[in-house]
């Protein structure tokens, strides 16, 4: 990913009034500060969502203690990857939504499904104006004794499923999640599964770190854990004693 400022941006003639009328307004063309994979799994008594705490600046691991999980309501949580400033904008929109609910002062609170649909509509509207919020979001929650897990991407596509992931989590995590999924999983089992997925992601995704946060939604509410590190294994025979420096396939 290249991050360069074009030299024409500083030239005087590019700011003449004629130039301003000719050049159209530019919108998001590439994300700058990005979050990585988000992974989620439904359990019998709730939902688990996890994300690592890294915000990358291209190939630089810039912000290593950044929370990509958000508690939306007592029954709904959000995990986001992609452009961080857009994720923060989405957080602001959702906070406003919940504040509006509070101001109505009736007993109605947005369900996780409503939040999921709302985000899908906002992202679709933005993409239709060619000014996307460059994110992949996971919405999870537990309301009316039912688990909910949904994904929204920067196009406004929405999906709902028992296991979901974004980014590299789709390629490396979903096969593991699908194999491990059972309808009678407990929350703690769900957390173990998700930790294993992030272990694999740390081994293989070059834009990840070994520090994750886990959010759970159960009948007791939504809790987001403190960030913690995963135990990883690096003493494989192939790493320690590579048989040949030219043979890259030893591990």
């Amino acid at each position: 990913m290249e991050l360069h400022i074009s030299s024409s941006a500083t030239k005087a003639e590019n700011f003449s009034s004629a130039q301003l009328f000719v050049d159209p307004t530019r919108h998001t063309t590439a994300p700058l500060v990005t979050g990585g994979s988000v992974v989620g799994i439904k359990c019998s008594d709730g939902v688990v969502i996890a994300a690592d705490t890294l915000a990358s600046y291209g190939s630089l691991a810039r912000f290593q203690n950044f929370s990509r999980l958000m508690k939306v309501t007592d029954s709904c949580m959000l995990g986001g990857g992609g452009e961080v400033s857009d994720f923060q904008e989405i957080q602001r929109l959702l906070e406003n939504l919940i504040t509006k609910d509070f101001c109505f002062n009736d007993e109605h609170i947005q369900t996780p499904r409503s939040v999921h649909q709302y985000l899908g509509r906002v992202l679709y509207a933005q993409r239709s104006r060619l000014n996307p919020l460059w994110n992949s979001l996971l919405v999870g929650g537990y309301a009316a004794s039912q688990s909910f897990l949904g994904v929204v991407d920067l196009y406004g596509t929405t999906f709902e499923s028992e296991v979901l992931a974004t980014g590299f989590g789709v390629l490396l995590g979903l096969p593991l999640l699908r194999k491990a999924y059972r309808p009678d999983l407990s929350i703690n089992e769900g957390i173990k599964i998700v930790e294993d997925v992030f272990r694999v992601l740390f081994y293989r995704d070059a834009r990840s770190i070994n520090r994750i946060q886990v959010a759970t939604a159960t009948s007791a509410g939504v809790t987001i854990s403190e960030p913690y590190s995963l135990e990883t294994k690096w003493d494989f025979e192939g790493f320690v004693n590579p048989r040949s420096t030219y043979d890259e396939s030893t591990w």
């Binding site: 499904r113 409503s114 649909q117």
Partner: protein, 257 residues
């Protein structure tokens, strides 16, 4: 109520602090034929009396379906009601599009009431001349709301508006506390009997499949309208009551059957 010099404009207060135009608009609601609404723990029911201008004409439409989970009965200017129902339908549709969820009744009624209020504070407009009884079922259960040309709205467990509605209200006042424990059938019968109270004073009219329409919405039931032959089973209760009346059976009050 007689004419006075402060009633030309809805934007002119009288010295007593009243807006006469709004009160005259409320009179228009009282001109419409009666509608009755009742509610229990899981359902809400509307019973309406349909009027015809002449025997050649079809009956005036009193029940409007707004969404799967909301409907209303009107009393007053039907044209105004049509406008409001179009607005309410759009609001429900937009809400479902954005939030994938049935619009909560309280928020829908709030928007309708705000629309009513706007018409009471512009020189260029007149108040809506229609009263609505809105029933619906949402996350919080069944609801019954009344709106008025003034822009006010109230939630009720039982209510009636329109011509001679006071008779229906008197009937409902006696038993509204028992409604929560009623079954759906009992609830419908109460609605029919309350509506009947508004016509008992008139010697030659009684409720029939020709002039009565019923609507039910609830826990496992989308807003459904029953009229013509469909309403016949619900009108059976009238036979029971009528025979009690003819026997001079005053031991049983009219509202127990």
């Amino acid at each position: 109520m007689f004419r006075n010099q402060y009633d030309t404009d809805v934007t002119t207060f009288s010295p007593q602090g009243r807006l006469h135009q709004i009160e005259y608009a409320q009179e228009a609601v009282k001109q419409g034929s009666a509608v009755v609404g009742v509610r229990n723990k899981n359902y809400a029911v509307l019973a309406t009396l349909k009027r015809t201008t002449s025997d050649l004409a079809s009956t005036q439409k009193k029940l409007f379906r707004i969404d799967d989970h909301v409907g209303m009965a009107i009393a007053g200017l039907t044209a105004d009601a049509r406008l409001l129902s179009k607005y309410m339908r759009t609001e429900c549709l937009n809400y479902k599009y954005v939030y994938e969820c049935a619009m909560p009744l309280s928020r829908l009624v709030l928007r309708v009431a705000d629309k009513h209020q706007i018409a009471t504070q512009r020189v260029s407009k007149r108040p809506f001349g229609v009263g609505l009884l809105i029933i619906g079922y949402d996350q919080q259960g069944p609801h019954l709301y009344e709106t008025s040309p003034s822009g006010e709205y109230w939630e009720y467990r039982a209510m009636s508006i329109g011509a001679r509605a006071q008779s229906a209200r008197t009937y409902l006042e006696k038993l509204f506390e028992t409604l929560d424990s009623c079954s759906l059938d009992q609830l419908c019968r109460h609605a029919i009997l309350a509506l009947r109270e508004t016509v008992t004073a008139l010697k030659d009219i009684d409720l029939s499949t020709k002039n009565c329409a019923l609507a039910i919405v609830g826990k496992d039931m989308d807003f459904t309208v029953y009229e013509d032959e469909d309403i016949l089973p619900y009108l059976d209760v009238i036979q029971t009551v009528r025979s009690q009346e003819m026997d001079g059976n005053t031991m049983y009050p009219k509202y127990f059957y």
